[in-house]
Symmetry: C2
DNA sequence: ACCAGTCTATCTGCGCATCGATAGGTTGTC
DNA sequence: GACAACCTATCGATGCGCAGATAGACTGGT
């Protein structure tokens, strides 16, 4: 087979694994679960990811890379801090559309002590990427007069991120109330967002 | 052994199990882990909790009851909405002291689809207990002029709870930054909390 | 004698992981 | 351009240990 097909299979395994992680957690799916879904044998998955930890690492690394790409796209498409933040919120909350899936940060944080150091490091990187970006948007937005709040912009950035992660957990428990507004009230309160 | 000792053993099993759940998740500990810690055999644990699900249910039911007791204590000890909220926040954030342990809500939400209906129902009850109480405190605090915010008090209550759950996930990933203020900046922003 | 509580022994099934085999593509070299 | 040597991707079989769970025997208090 061609190398391109190899890559496709690797990606396919990660795709399915990511679905399992986001719905059930990293410790609650097996190579057998993956194999059944993909219609191959578990031994074939071991060929690409010798240890489950290798799969976990590949998973979160791709997730981080995708996320970085997504926020770079936002920066390219939108100039206003308000629109950039809106786009970010939409992306984040769409992730948990209907409460089916969680952000990997939430899942891996819940299981953190059972995960390898390499994966824990990636979780930290994901957080920092998000906070740095939010900090930019929030402080730019304040300078431009879109938002007003007291204190450090980094505290606001951190609050937004924590809120979003917690909100995903809540939405999963109450999937019915999925018809929520574009901008959660909490965000308006945190930023004194007008309009 | 005396019935009182029976009860003691049951509680002891729940104690140890709760520790495991809060640190590693419900799917990442076994009856063997419990048995080793408690210095009994796994069969003895099955005597009290025939299925792991029975243990999980007992666990969260006790947790909910404890929590309800704790907020009733707060209401008895404090009259000012400000002090009541402070006490609640302290209780909540002390729970994750150093990031070692998570609130059961966060853990069970992360693993939700792998849990039984009975446990999922308890998770919902826990959420509603908290939101109802926070709603009371927040709306009383607004009437009394301690807090000021626009919109529904229930949205603020919900935002506080989501923030706290998310904040616990974040703190677990960054245990170093444990020297945080009594009232998180996010809460001050949400409520326009003065003083 | 009874009963609660604990034990030992054991079951079945699944967890991750490895091995060796095989079918087919790729490459090198004469 | 043919053949050997190698590489890629997959497989079946299997190992070892742990998972939750149960049956049945022991023990000590009343």
């Amino acid at each position: 087979m061609l190398p391109s097909e190899t890559k496709a299979m690797k990606e396919r395994i990660i795709d399915v694994a990511q679905g399992f992680v986001q719905t059930r957690g990293f410790n609650a799916f097996s190579y057998r679960d993956l194999a059944e879904q993909i219609l191959i044998r578990t031994a074939s998955i071991h060929y690409y990811f010798p240890k489950k930890d290798d799969l976990g690492l590949a998973l979160i690394q791709r997730y981080c890379a995708d996320f970085e790409g997504a926020i770079r796209n936002i920066d390219d498409a939108e100039r206003s801090p308000k629109n950039r933040l809106s786009a970010y919120l939409k992306m984040f909350l769409d992730l948990s559309k209907g409460g089916a899936r969680l952000c990997l940060f939430a899942v891996f944080s819940a299981e953190l002590p059972t995960l390898s150091e390499r994966i824990q490091d990636e979780v930290r990187i994901f957080y920092e990427t998000n906070i740095d970006w939010l900090n930019d948007v929030v402080s730019e937005g304040r300078s431009a007069g879109f938002f007003s709040f007291s204190g450090e912009s980094r505290d606001v950035a951190s609050a937004i991120f924590s809120f979003l992660e917690g909100e995903m957990l809540v939405r999963r428990v109450f999937p019915a109330e999925a018809h929520s507004p574009e901008i959660p009230p909490a965000i308006r309160l945190l930023l004194s967002w007008k309009g």
